[in-house]
């Protein structure tokens, strides 16, 4: 029986999972929406992965989780590796593209840039206080224009005269966009303008002060949008590589990290039928009122976190 490795990336918008073998070949993969319920999404994801997975020839010996719900999901799945999404993306991309120098990544709520030299990340930046120019902005604008977010790229490529849209802040961008719609700009041009605005906003914020060197790899959910890819290529003046599995790169990265790590624990698909729930308990130890999250499997407390001092360890 061959060894396999599971990697799961639970983001704010989507939940991604892959199972790889020793040589990083993908044995199973799925991409579903999180819909504000990371536990439910992961159980669904595990069920879908099980359908594709050949249990006769492989067994999963290590599991990694990443993304903003990595800790919660890691607890539920009994992960052997819990890693932040920046490292996971860097490891995933450099494994498949050893020559890469710059990784652009735009997800649902965050965006980051990773600079690579000799196969390791040497500098990175991530948006801090504001989620401007991320997937969430694109999907809300698609809704306004009455199209599916998946169609944005197609529309954008049809435009010959992209509309200028203020890119600094999504609140301003939105009012600018409404104004341009009411002035009678064609829909294609507006959508192309939105794509350009996302690229410009990204380069002016997270990309500020960073030297972008080719080869450039673009990933995250927004990389599926041809319009934004074209906008990056035009602005940067170089080819931008989008991997067909770019949306899975975080999950791939953490599966690779789980493989390289020392932790080994056979994964049990039974979790898809287990009942998990979380409860928030306020600690009354002092006026900081730490919000402690308790995770239960059935009635059994399996983990808790959120306290800033030892006093909180007693609250359950």
């Amino acid at each position: 029986m061959e060894h396999a490795y599971l990697g799961i990336d639970v983001g704010s918008i989507s939940t991604k999972g892959v199972i790889i073998d020793k040589k990083n070949n993908i044995l199973a993969s799925r991409y579903i929406w999180t819909q504000g319920d990371p536990i439910g999404a992961v159980k669904e994801l595990v069920r879908l992965l099980e359908e594709q997975f050949d249990k006769e020839s492989y067994k999963i010996v290590a599991t990694g989780t990443t993304g903003s719900a990595r800790k919660l999901v890691g607890t539920i799945l009994g992960a052997t590796m819990v890693k932040n999404e920046i490292t996971a993306h860097a490891v995933g991309t450099t494994t498949f593209y050893p020559e890469v120098r710059t990784i652009l990544e735009i997800g649902g709520q965050d965006s980051k840039i990773i600079l690579v030299e000799n196969g390791v990340a040497v500098d990175y930046a991530m948006n801090t206080l504001c989620a401007a120019g991320t997937g969430a902005f694109l999907s809300s604008q698609a809704k306004r224009l009455g199209i599916e977010v998946e169609e944005i790229g197609e529309y954008a490529l049809r435009s010959t005269h992209p509309t200028q849209i203020a890119a600094r802040c999504t609140v301003f961008a939105e009012s600018d966009l409404v104004h341009k719609i009411q002035m009678g700009h064609p829909r294609e041009d507006i959508i192309a303008g939105v794509c350009n605005a996302v690229a410009a906003n990204y380069l002016n914020n997270v990309g500020k002060g960073k030297k972008i060197i080719s080869p450039v790899v673009f990933q995250g959910g927004v990389s599926k949008n041809q319009g934004v890819v074209a906008a990056f290529e035009r602005t940067l003046g170089c080819k931008v590589i989008v991997d067909p599995n770019g949306h899975l790169m975080g999950a791939l990265g953490v599966a690779i990290l789980a493989r390289r790590g020392s932790g080994r624990r056979e994964f049990d698909f039974a979790v898809e039928n287990m009942e998990f729930r979380t409860r928030e308990a306020g600690c009354g130890g002092c006026s900081n009122h730490c919000e402690i999250i308790c995770v239960y499997r059935g009635d059994e407390l399996i983990d808790s976190w959120g306290n800033r001092c030892e006093r909180g360890a007693r609250v359950h």
Binding site: A90, V120, N288
Partner: protein
């Protein structure tokens, strides 16, 4: 004139310096000191509620802490002067507190000409008309000595605490030191506490590799130094087995370089020729110093809307490019969740650790 009542003086919580404020107020000025409660979410809620939205976070923290000090029984609040917007904060804090209905006496150092020695005497007399200037000066210097000790021990603590080979003796030694400083009533207590801490910390076995990861901290004066405000960034980094170095503290900024940082500017003349704010020269100098010493990374800390530190960032980007040293830029607002910070710090750690193996 009737016998003046003894004042109950307070100053907002600020890193671990409140022990020195206490010492100076009680021993040098002969007043009572009201220790504000430690900073918590409640402090931030109070401060944020009554502050202008776009003011920097330290203002909100200080306002919240002042309200808690007034609740704890303070009748006199002290506010410092400053070289950025901080210089105007005293006036604004006082007005907000008065509008809320609190009654107190407010001593705002911005109203005095801090360049003149005579003004210091006026301030002392305002706290306590019967204060003896000679005695004040002697005990005040002891308070400053305590500040230097706090900075020295804190610096040593964050450099080594991540490598403690025991189950927390190093941290215990640091906490014992702080307790000694918060309870000191005489010079002998300060000296004894310092010596005990030095001995205790040196006796704890450390498990440190030959070339540990070293990270330098630069940034805005309040947020970079106050552990509550930066969500315990230094402890979090240290716990990942990193040597954490920070030059910026009261000792270096005011006691050693109180009359200007011209000598620091010599080394960074090619980067900047004049002060861009209260801490820019020191931060740029120290960032380059870290880069030249081969540190593995820099963390730049500021609160949102801090203009002087925003001005420092382009210079740090140049240093980062010239010396190939990664810089993590962090902007803090009144948030109290550290989940986002942990993601960034873990990624930063992974990066500098993997990088060290290759370069």
């Amino acid at each position: 004139m009737a016998e003046a009542k003894m004042r109950n003086v307070s100053f907002p919580r600020y890193a671990e310096y409140n022990c020195a404020f206490k010492y100076i107020v009680e021993q040098a000025l002969g007043c009572k000191y009201v220790m504000p409660p430690v900073l918590t979410k409640r402090t931030m809620e109070l401060g944020t509620k009554y502050s202008p939205d776009f003011v920097c976070t330290p203002f909100k923290t200080m306002l919240g802490s002042m309200i808690e000090a007034l609740e704890a029984g303070a009748d006199t609040l002290l506010m410092t002067h400053g070289l950025c917007r901080l210089g105007y904060y005293g006036e604004l804090l006082e007005q907000i507190l008065r509008d809320l209905g609190y009654q107190f006496d407010f001593i705002n150092l911005s109203e005095y000409d801090m360049g003149k020695k005579k003004e210091y005497l006026r301030i002392v007399k305002r706290f306590n008309p019967k204060a003896n200037p000679a005695r004040f000066l002697a005990r005040f210097m002891e308070g400053l000595r305590m500040t230097e000790y706090v900075d020295e021990i804190t610096c040593e603590y964050y450099k080594n605490c991540g490598f403690d080979a025991t189950d927390g003796q190093y941290k215990q030694a640091y906490q014992d030191f702080l307790t000694a400083m918060y309870t000191a009533q005489a010079r002998a207590d300060v000296e004894a506490g310092y010596r005990a801490a030095k001995r205790a910390m040196q006796s704890v076995p450390l498990d440190k590799p030959q070339r540990p990861l070293r990270v330098g901290i630069v940034g805005e004066f309040y947020t970079a130094m106050d552990a509550f405000s930066n969500l315990e960034l230094e402890q979090k980094l240290a716990d990942m087995r990193v040597e954490v170095h920070r030059w910026m503290n009261v000792t270096n900024q005011f006691l050693r370089y109180g009359s200007g940082q011209k000598n620091l500017r010599v080394k960074i003349q090619d980067l900047c020729r004049y002060d861009m704010g209260p801490t820019s020269t020191a931060n740029i100098w120290y960032a380059r110093e870290c880069a030249e010493r081969g540190y593995d990374g820099l963390v730049h800390i500021k609160s949102a809307t801090c203009t002087p530190e925003i001005d420092v960032m382009p210079v740090l980007q140049n240093i980062s490019a010239d010396y190939k040293i990664p810089v993590l830029y962090l902007t803090y607002d009144a948030q109290t969740s550290d989940v986002g910070l942990m993601t960034r710090l873990e990624a930063f750690y992974d990066m500098i650790e993997m990088r060290k193996k290759v370069l």
